[in-house]
């Protein structure tokens, strides 16, 4: 019997690299990415350095019979323009999903994010997957992520024969991932909104990679929140990773951040501060049940591994 083939997009990224390491040996891995791929131990990977928004991607589908696609070429770098991000995240995904349909891929795993729910003082604790996506009410700059999520969702309903799994993980942290929260936590002096200390959920990159690979084992379709070992207040997280919190009144912090960001030196885009003020606590029990998934690292192990490069 031939080995099954999995296509991983965005394989050069920190998290995707760990997913590739974890994929069982009876799968052949084909990777596409923009940057060169660091070699993976004991693993031969067919790597194509290309842009998924270009037509060259389709040729891989023509030549290889792909069984599963893990789509991780989703860009959430707030530094690049919304237009560019929209092109990568929405147009790129549309093209990829078209190819999946045309070349009879049996399973598609899509990486969205719990950020699409948005942080809000009115959020209940334990947001389930049917909760409205209202992040753009405060933070329109990540509308591409919401559009990506909605596009994937409607595609999933249109293709009931393809196992489509949309993952909405909480904040992924770890020494290989680079996102807003990790770059924020790696500061020595960490500004925090004065008087606010929301609960925050984190998942370690290894646990997240494990969650993504577990999608290969089960023939399910759906949207799933993915959570790690638990939730902690922002200040407690900062203390554990060893930073020094500096409380700044919201009004000052917000405008300062906005000014800095325009000059190109801020760490976070200003509306991102909402996530440091209000809760966005998601319910991950559905994923845990359907995919038999338990995060293996404790809260302290998860957080301690974040700042060490």
């Amino acid at each position: 019997m031939r080995n099954k083939k999995v296509l991983i997009t965005g394989i050069s990224g920190g998290l995707a690299h760990q997913v590739a390491e974890m994929i069982p040996k009876n799968w052949d891995i084909i990777g596409v990415g923009l940057r060169t791929l660091r070699p993976i131990k004991d693993r031969k990977i067919e790597f194509h350095q290309l842009d998924i928004t270009k037509n060259k991607l389709e040729d891989i589908f023509r030549r290889r019979q792909i069984d599963c696609v893990i789509h991780m070429a989703v860009n959430d770098n707030p530094r690049i323009s919304i237009k560019q991000r929209h092109h990568i995240n929405v147009v790129g995904t549309m093209k990829l999903l078209e190819d999946c349909e045309r070349y009879h891929v049996k399973k598609v795993v899509l990486l969205s994010s719990a950020n699409v729910y948005g942080a809000d003082p009115n959020n209940p604790v334990y947001i389930t997957e049917d909760y409205p996506l209202r992040v753009t009410q405060h933070y329109s700059e990540i509308s591409d992520k919401v559009e990506f999520d909605s596009y994937c969702r409607s595609w999933m309903y249109k293709h009931p024969n393809i196992s489509t799994i949309i993952l909405r993980p909480c904040h992924i942290i770890g020494s290989h991932v680079h996102n807003n929260l990790t770059s924020y936590l790696r500061l020595r002096y960490i500004p925090i909104p004065l008087g606010f200390d929301p609960m925050i959920q984190v998942i370690h990159e290894i646990d997240m990679a494990r969650a993504i690979t577990s999608c290969l084992r089960y023939n399910k379709s759906g949207i799933y929140n993915v959570v790690g070992p638990g939730e902690l207040p922002l200040t407690e997280i900062i203390n554990i990773v060893g930073g020094t919190p500096i409380p700044v009144p919201h009004v000052i912090g917000y405008s300062a951040l906005k000014a800095l960001w325009t000059m190109g030196i801020g760490v976070l885009p200003a509306p991102q501060v909402e996530y440091l003020m209000y809760p966005c606590i998601i319910d991950g029990t559905r994923f845990q049940k359907d995919f038999n998934f338990r995060p293996q690292l404790s809260l302290s192990e998860t957080l301690r591994a974040t700042v060490l490069y």
């Binding site: 009115n122 209940p124 604790v125 008087g195 200390d197 609960m199 902690l232 207040p233 919201h250 404790s298």
Partner: protein, 286 residues
């Protein structure tokens, strides 16, 4: 910020926290994570400072007496009470009673106004005390976790009651009944006596309240005449009567009329205990 203040001065005031409070906080059945937090942000190490003040007020300012607290069943339970007194001291007194007088101790979690979550410091403070945003999803989740939730179905309109309406009940919102039925939780009617006299309000200046973003603007013997000092409630004596637990049958999807019948049963029980308590009371202050 609150964390930083308490971390800085916590070691000095830690010794001043009543040992009984610490002991009872440890005995709470709540599930906490490895750093002693729950998902809503309750943290006993920080809650103890607020509780120290609450317990002092309960014991020495209001000299609260509880009756029938042993009737509160173990496991999931909804405490439904009458609301009064302009400031939510009734909630505070019930919560302290459930921690200090119930055996084993329970954390009674109030469903608070949404507004709290937007106020710096206060939002952190209330969530570390174990209070939660008044959203039905929160309430259902807590009941499913076998916790004790406290609801005042009269809402802010109830606590803003005028002196002439004291110890009557205004319209109950019926959401609590649906949540009780959905989660099959018993309801304990709680009647609070003493709250109505702590800050008797003779008139509610609605336009002023609206302009200031307050739920009501009471005119009391001391407020607004004494400025902020007028916010200090009178040291009336509190009595809290816990009624027998009520078990209702249903799915939570009944029509409003059917739910209302069940709500009226709870209301009647609360009123019955209020009038019993009032007739036994010798004086407002002792």
């Amino acid at each position: 910020m609150l964390d930083m203040i308490l971390r800085a001065i916590g070691s000095q005031i830690d010794a001043s926290v009543d040992k009984e409070i610490k002991r009872r906080l440890k005995k709470l059945p709540n599930k906490l994570n490895e750093y002693n937090y729950d998902a809503w942000g309750f943290h006993p190490e920080m809650a103890q400072y607020g509780l120290q003040i609450g317990v002092w007020l309960y014991r020495y300012y209001w000299r609260t007496e509880t009756h029938g607290i042993e009737k509160v069943p173990q496991g999931r339970v909804l405490l439904i009470g009458n609301h009064s007194g302009q400031l939510p001291m009734d909630g505070l007194n019930i919560a302290v009673a459930m921690l200090m007088e119930a055996n084993p101790p329970r954390l009674a979690r109030a469903m608070i106004e949404r507004w709290f979550g937007t106020v710096p410091l206060l939002s952190t403070f209330v969530s570390r005390q174990g209070q939660i945003l008044g959203d039905p999803k929160n309430c259902i989740k807590l009941l499913e976790n076998d916790e004790c939730v406290m609801v005042f179905p009269e809402g802010v309109k109830g606590s803003g009651k005028l002196w002439y309406d004291r110890y009557t009940l205004i319209d109950f919102s019926s959401g609590f009944m649906r949540m009780a039925l959905k989660t099959k939780s018993p309801i304990v009617p709680v009647s609070v006596i003493g709250g109505e006299e702590q800050m008797p309000s003779f008139y509610d200046v609605k336009p002023l309240a609206k302009a200031l973003g307050m739920p009501y603007f009471p005119i009391t013997p001391t407020f607004p005449w004494l400025g902020l000092l007028g916010f200090v409630p009178f040291p009336t004596k509190y009595h809290i009567y816990f009624g027998d637990p009520l078990y209702f049958e249903g799915t939570g999807n009944e029509t409003d009329a059917e739910i209302q019948k069940k709500v009226d049963v709870v209301k009647a029980k609360i009123l019955e205990n209020i009038s019993r308590g009032l007739s036994k009371r010798k004086s407002i202050f002792w």
